[in-house]
Assembly symmetry: C2
Homo-oligomer: 277 residues x 2
């Protein structure tokens, strides 16, 4: 194919072999040295080719372990509304946030932890409205479908005044809990939420938890809950997902202004290079 760079060419060939099913998802590729011999290239060059396949999400290379073929082709298309629903399925007053994935139950890939932690991320600290470095109640989980690599990292930061109002949230089991319900009941009803979505590169730690290369982008969703009592942030929850494992679907609706087919039957140019991302 591309006669450009040797390493891109080799990446192309190995990619084709992966897509052709030569190695099953979860299994290991040949070693760098083997590939080097196969393609008559230097091991370092093979390493660069593998780096490309990593950033594309095809493989996950780990020191000391090998190059693992990722479970590809499973980009989940997740319809996202913007409605928060009650989730009484389990007989308790939890919330179900935007998603239409049904009710699969996910497992915890590592034991969930909950407890006070210094909040060092300035971005989260600002959203929660606390000084950087404060001790803040944190709930941390890594979840995903059974028999698959972890799907998402899930970190909630609970504002100190919420903990003061509903002290039981600190002693709650670190697993799933109705802590949002507790906080609302303690005087913060109704909490209102907004979400911020962005793509970024993962930290080394995040990549390890999600079993992805550090060169594969992640989707980060930060949900900010604001207290109904004082209008100030009461909790911030961060979701981190491998970028190649999701796409979000949004159904658009017509505003009042767009209900009339032929508003005034004018002719002339319009400009929709404006105000549109």
């Amino acid at each position: 194919m591309a006669v450009h760079s040797r390493y891109l060419d080799i990446a192309h060939q190995i990619r084709a072999r992966i897509e052709g099913g030569e190695w099953a998802p979860g299994s290991k590729l040949p070693r760098l040295d083997d590939f080097a011999k196969q393609y008559g290239a230097n091991r370092d060059t093979i390493g660069r080719a593998i780096a490309v396949l990593e950033s594309e999400g095809f493989v996950w290379a780990v020191q000391g372990r090998g190059i693992i073929v990722r479970h590809g082709l499973m980009r989940l298309r997740r319809p996202r509304g913007n409605l928060v629903k009650r989730n009484l399925a389990t007989g308790s007053p939890g919330y179900s946030f935007p998603s239409a994935t049904g009710q699969e139950v996910w497992k915890h890939h590592i034991p969930p932890v909950a407890g006070p932690e210094p909040l060092t991320d300035p971005r989260i600290a600002k959203l929660l409205g606390v000084p950087v470095g404060s001790e803040v109640m944190r709930r941390f989980r890594v979840t995903g479908p059974e028999s698959e690599p972890p799907f998402q990292i899930n970190i909630s930061w609970i504002h100190p005044r919420a903990v003061a109002d509903a002290p039981e949230v600190v002693s709650q089991a670190p697993g799933p809990g109705d802590w949002l319900y507790r906080i609302e009941k303690a005087g913060h009803w109704p909490i209102s939420w907004m979400e911020i979505h962005r793509a970024r590169m993962p930290t080394k730690r995040e990549a390890g938890l999600l079993e992805i290369p550090t060169s594969l982008p992640v989707l980060e969703i930060v949900r900010v809950g604001t207290s109904g009592r004082d209008g100030q942030p009461i909790e911030v929850t961060e979701y981190i997902v491998a970028g190649d494992r999701v796409e979000t679907v949004h159904v658009l609706h017509r505003d009042e202004s767009a209900q009339d087919p032929w508003p005034e039957d004018v002719e002339g140019p319009s400009d929709n290079s404006t105000g549109r991302i």
Copy 2:
């Protein structure tokens, strides 16, 4: 800092110097050889450090030109509703899609082009409901604020039957146009839309157009318009933006089911590891 790898260490130092304002956005960094001498490392090692800074969005390295400091710190936070509005600001019946950026007028960074093109992207072809390789009317633009690097690539594919119904869209100026209005008027009112958002790595060509490294992820929004006449796709528009230049904001609303503060005052665990991305 990190005494791990030499190149990560150097990347860290150069990053700090960029953030410290040692080089203005848009200006060039020293050459690889200069850095190599400064840090007493091999040029190749410096190259790896620069590659890190590229994937983080700090710099844009171009062969033969140099290493350019990107205009950082300007992640635009764009509130996104899901409402499509009429845009009569310019005196014509255009649409304004979700965004609340106001009415800045953007310039075209390269001349917009419009015309029939073979649709080779299987993903877009499938969404538009045409065979891969079909000749399809395409509108292509690269736009952004004045005096800044390009912000987004914007490609619309118009289904052949829409062109048959509204032939004037092919002869329209390649710039902004009221082609959606024309198509609706030709019998496809009302078009309904949905959007698919995902993060992915850019192609070489996309990276060049957006003036970003190929290692920096992009946000891709694909909007699919469905004809009100036959319920089939009538147009597909693809937006591509540098991942570090936007984040989208979504305000969540309470469903009917979530209006009651204390639904039945039960105790017990809930599980919100379910149905949530």
